[in-house]
Amino acid sequence: MTLLDAKLKPGQTVEILKIDGEHLLRERLHEMGLRSGMELTILGRAPFGGPLLVRFKTSFLALRNEEAACAQVTLKA
């Protein structure tokens, strides 16, 4: 599933399996620290179906749907 999957609920932790998508976007996600093997905690969604909020290590990130959809993840806990 992707990071955008409706099954994912706030508080859950996922591991990134793979990042797809456009080259520049993938590169930026990498530079921000998102890569396969990383664990992310889902924090929630902004209103009106806005960006997805995640935490990894000590960083907080807001990702739009298109961006979140690029990350293939698997549920950890």
């Binding site: 456009e22 520049l24 976007l25 993938r26 590169e27 930026r28 996600l29 990498h30 530079e31 921000m32 620290g33 890569r35 396969s36 924090l43 929630g44 969604r45 902004a46 209103p47 009106f48 179906g49 806005g50 960006p51 909020l53 935490r55 290590k57 000590t58 960083s59 907080f60 990130l61 807001a62 990702l63 739009r64 298109e66 961006e67």
Partner: protein
Amino acid sequence: MCPSDVESVNVAAAGSEERVIALVGAPNSGKTTLYNWLTGSRFKTVNYPGATVEYSLGKLAPHLGTGILAMDTPGTYSLHPKSADEVVTIKSIYENPEFGEATAIVVVLDGTQLSRHLQLALQVKETGFPMIVVITMADLLRKEGIEIDMEYLRKTLECPVIQFDGLLAGGLLEIVEAAKNVSLDSFPKRPRVWDFDELDLKMKECDRIAKEALSHKTDHPEVRLKKIVEKTEKIDRLLLHPTFGLIMFLVIMSALFSSIFWLAAPFMDYVDQGFSFLNKVVNDLGPGTLWADFLANGVVSSFGAVLVFVPQIFILFFGIGLLESSGYLARAATLIDRPFSALGMSGRSFVPILSGFACAVPAIIATRNISSARDRWITSFVIPLMQCSARLPVYALLIAFLFHGESALMAGIVFASLYLGSLFVGGLAAGIVNKFLPHNDNSFFMMELPIYRRPKFRVLLRQSLTRTMNYVKRAGPMIFVFAVIIWVGTNFPNYNNENAHDKLEQSYAGQLGKVIEPVVAPMGVDWRVGVGLISAFAAREVFVSSLAVTFNVADDNEDTQQQSLLTQMSEAVNKDGQKVFTISSVIGLMIFFMIALQCMTTVAIQAKESGSIKMAVGQLIAFNVVAYVLVVTVVQGLRALGVS
């Protein structure tokens, strides 16, 4: 007149013995704080994740020595730029118009984000630039008992590594010392773009280095680091909640804008009374003389009419600074991203748009942080529609006229509707442009949310004060020049005419006003307001001081200046004996000021930033024509409905 945060430091072409150290780092890593300590500059450039002006260059503060220039660059995650201001970072390092190439690079890393930020250090190292690594957020780390193995980092990165405490400037002298010792015979290469396999490898390496550096001297560093973010996570559960977060957003924004009016009111009274007193004093120095009349009714009145709004401007700058430094502003951008994206913008447009309420100039510059050219174009297109602080004086006067201080609540509601109205008009304009602009590039939003930090009130106060003073300094000469022009224009050629009305009518300003009267008459006003409107194109707030002069304030010393101006306005009649300021004409004027693009500085910045004079001029014409047509329609419509 718009205050701009663009602080240009006059740097003579750097001599050969001058070294330029460029500060490079991710957004929010603490570069600008370090820069301010290094240069002693009390300036902070526009600073929202990634938004800084082109670059700032400054000499070292006197007590730190000479021979070194420090350069602050826009925040960047890598040396492979992806947005306009990241491009600026690279250009300002490699092909700087002032000095060519930087001598050395100070890589600023957030100590709480070590593994991520180390990537940039590795990239810089590859280029061969002499490098100094500065680790910030030392106070946060210390509080959680985290000690970084600096010796290990020095060995691994093969360069000086210094911890820096932004609160007390601990480490500053070491940084300067290291900068003085950098090698001058390096020949840096251009940065190499890492492919994905390499990126992966480098990131693993960064992870490893960070882990080693943290675990050598600290037990369970990960647990301690997590503690730093725990509070932020807790607060975010509330502030980023889909419904509750939205309510908080509305409460916070309403609090900001209402405090601009309520909190400022008593201070505005003091300023107003002060100028009334000054006016009287100056008048009494030489009663009936030309020079005393000029000083009191030309200069003092003009300055009084504009400076009375300084408290409001200060509070606006303070409020935005407070939200920014606490970390809330980035959250607000996230909350608003979805509605904004429906209009062709993004959450990142929120901060430039909010800054537009202070001044369009830094706001347009701040749009560089938006990575999509299309989003950026739309955002900077609608920014001039946001109600900048220069409009405050005009609105405050017109609203005071409508309600004569009777109903604070109604006045507040009208103020709020002007602001909301401008958001509505801005949204409408963005929606229209969005429809017609070709969709060709993908934008990514992806934003880092900084951890919540308690704002440092002294820093905030100083910064808001500097920005406010900047506003006054920039507005001052303009006000003075117009005070002279308008005073001369309204008092001559027949200064000694006893009849005030005749004197004004026959004056130069009166003659000019008569020429343009056919244009302004459909707006429901007469030639005197026309003179004010023309002068407002130099700076909106000049409208008020120009009214103050054309309507001859200060001939009665009982009231404060503003009261006196309001009385004059309510008594003013046009040549047909009808009142000039009526409900409909005042509403018309408010609409005009809400939409018209009268600020030439904005037009100039727009042309520069968009790289298109056509866009800037087109915008100037479009906004003013729309404003005029709308005002005429509304005023004539209201009159047809029987509203005076």
